[in-house]
């Protein structure tokens, strides 16, 4: 089904470029959209994140994997401005982001979703979607009082939202409260809403968690679709089959550090990755990420 769509030029280029990259932690890529240097985040005495170097190739689907407590979500939080780092810099598309506040990141084209879906339960699905649009005239309280100023833009936004909903097969739910959706539908809604910001980099935190197998396949297709439209996708995932299926490149974290990088095939043969997973399962469960 996916293969019926032609792969975009950017994506083909990215895949070809990644094929030549050496599979080692912190390796440089030829066209990174996100470039991370020396990011650290401590909690008490524990170094939750300690990433010396990480490049995300433009136009690729990159998976971020690792055992529980490896610091994947914390890295997401730091990179998206939700958690202040103790050290480090990162650039998105050449723009320095380390001192940019969370809300400005979306405006600049870098959007994220959350591990626990954050659908706005008492807003309808379509309102959820419309919220995602950037630069709305009617979002200033003064303009809000004069519908003439924002009605035209609003109907354009609504049109775009409806198109996205249809694409994600949620069109018939547009007027339901988001709170009435199932877990999987909420995941879809959150992803669709993130796309309303017209991002260049989409960061998905466990997009498959709690989604039933039938929906998983279509989510999979949607994520591929994003890449084929020229967006870059970075996602955290536990399901190794899914990672294998979907990603062009895999980054492995353990105990806050990046321990391996490579194509899915290279990673599945990497002994240090297997050890990290086994080690984490044998060790104490005390640092398990809690939700």
């Amino acid at each position: 089904m996916v293969d019926s769509k032609p792969m975009s030029e950017v994506a083909t280029k990215a895949r070809n470029a990644l094929a030549g990259v050496r599979p080692e932690p912190g390796v440089a890529k030829d066209d990174p959209i996100l470039h991370v240097v020396g990011v650290q985040r401590h909690f008490g005495g524990i170094k939750a994140v300690d990433v010396e170097h990480l490049d995300i190739q433009r136009g690729s689907i990159t998976a971020l994997i690792g055992p529980n407590g490896a610091g994947k979500t914390t890295l997401f939080n730091v990179l998206t401005g939700f958690d202040p780092p103790d050290a480090g810099q990162w650039q998105f598309d050449g723009i320095e982001m380390s001192r940019v506040s969370a809300h400005k990141m979306a405006v600049k084209g870098m959007v994220r979703t959350f591990q626990l879906t954050k659908s706005l339960t008492k807003l309808s699905v379509i309102e959820n979607m419309k919220l995602g649009a950037i630069d709305q005239v009617g979002e200033s309280w003064w303009n809000a009082l004069f519908p003439l100023l924002w009605k035209a833009q609003e109907s354009l936004i609504e049109q775009r939202a409806d198109e996205l909903l249809t694409r994600f097969s949620m069109g018939r739910m547009r007027n339901e409260y988001a709170g009435t959706l199932s877990g999987g539908q909420r995941k879809l809604l959150e992803m669709a809403r993130a796309l309303m910001t017209e991002p260049r980099l989409v960061m998905l935190d466990e997009p498959m968690a709690g989604v039933n197998p039938a929906l998983k396949q279509s989510l999979n297709d949607h994520i591929r679709g994003l890449r084929d439209e020229g967006m870059t996708v970075l996602f955290v995932e536990h399901d190794m089959d899914m990672v294998h299926d979907l990603s062009d490149w895999v980054v492995v974290m353990s105990e806050g550090r990046i321990i391996a990088e490579g194509t899915p095939e290279q990673i599945s043969e990497n002994t240090s990755v297997i050890e990290a997973y086994l080690g984490a399962h044998q060790g104490s469960a005390m640092y398990e990420e809690t939700h």
Partner: protein, 334 residues
């Protein structure tokens, strides 16, 4: 028991000045709490800003009454920044704690001997409303209206001003809440991290909401002060905010009509209850089998006890108000 009298008073309370000034303040709390999810427990202080803004014109600045409006607006903004800057980045509790504390402090400052020259101490200020009274199109001493809604000319005037303001604020809030601005603040109430990830500066929206709600409180304080012809510090005690909150929840959070219907019902019920109990124990305390159940000095306490109980039950059982929307309510349980 004089039922006619009770009926008259109750009917008058439904549309009285008290309901009007409560409605204005309730609109403020609705914008802040109902729509944005900000717990402002110091609405009384914003009301005091309005009242003292007017009072200061005669007591301290000796300028025209109309200067009271800009003065009050400045006071509201200063107060909102004072409580908002440290707390709006933090969890909802902190705003509640800081507003309740600040409101109490504001009351202590305006009633203090130290600042008596500025704020008039515990006697308050009562010299500011002449210019307002001069605008009255009604004969102050004459009676207007049809039974049971009969008012003196002066009350008619404040009623008119009060309810016109309520109508204006209702339109204002209605416009705001069906706009993209309203969508953002409602989304902040649901989950602020989600909204932040979509590129909205939630800190700024919360501050705007706090200030807009504060302006509603300011208008409320002005109407109250003009009706009484005086500004008394103890009218802005901590519990006033909570009574307004009760009235708001009674009408239903996050709906425009809730801020009007709630205060009307609140005052109708309150006056009915108060009148009924007072008449019951007017001549002698109510006794059952020789045990005194209630006497005249305790009526006030019983009324407020019922308000507290009402707030508990409403918040636990029907936060969407008496006429609440079932579907929205079902979402709350999740």
């Amino acid at each position: 028991m004089d039922w006619v009298r009770i009926f008259e008073n109750t009917m008058r309370a439904f549309v009285g000045v008290d309901a009007a000034y409560f409605a204005l303040a309730a609109f403020g709390l609705n914008v802040q709490f109902g729509y944005t999810g900000l717990l402002n427990f110091g609405q009384a202080a914003f009301m005091a800003c309005g009242a003292y803004g007017l009072g200061l014109t005669s007591q301290y600045f000796d300028v025209s009454f109309w200067w009271g409006i800009p003065i009050a607006m400045v006071l509201v903004i200063v107060l909102a920044l004072l409580v908002g800057i440290p707390t709006l980045r933090l969890r909802a509790d902190y705003l509640a704690i800081v507003t309740i504390a600040t409101a109490e402090l504001v009351r202590l400052v305006v009633r203090s001997v130290k600042f008596k020259r500025i704020f008039g101490g515990s006697d308050g200020i009562n010299t500011f409303s002449n210019e307002f009274r001069a605008l009255n199109p009604f004969q102050p001493a004459a009676q207007y209206g049809i039974w049971p809604f009969r008012y003196s000319g002066y009350t008619m005037f404040t009623l008119l001003v009060g309810w016109v303001l309520v109508a204006m604020i209702a339109v204002f809030v209605w416009l705001l809440m069906r706009s993209p601005w309203g969508r953002v603040v409602k989304a902040i109430r649901e989950d602020e991290d989600a909204v932040r990830s979509l590129g909205k500066n939630i800190y700024s929206y919360k501050m705007q909401s706090l200030i807009i709600g504060g302006f509603c409180g300011m208008l409320s304080g002005m109407v109250f002060a003009l009706d009484r012809g005086s500004v008394q510090p103890d009218n802005y005690s901590r519990d006033v905010t909570f009574y307004i909150l009760t009235a708001l929840v009674l009408g239903g959070l996050a709906r425009v009509m809730g801020s009007i219907v709630g205060p009307m019902m609140f005052w109708g019920l309150y006056v009915f209850c108060d009148n009924f109990l007072r008449q019951l124990v007017q001549s002698e305390p109510l006794r059952i089998g020789g045990v005194t159940i209630i006497q005249s000095t305790q009526v006030g306490a019983v009324n407020y006890m019922l308000i507290g109980l009402g707030l508990i039950l409403l918040m636990a059982k029907r936060p969407q108000g008496v006429f609440g929307n079932r579907q929205e309510m079902a979402l709350d349980g999740r």
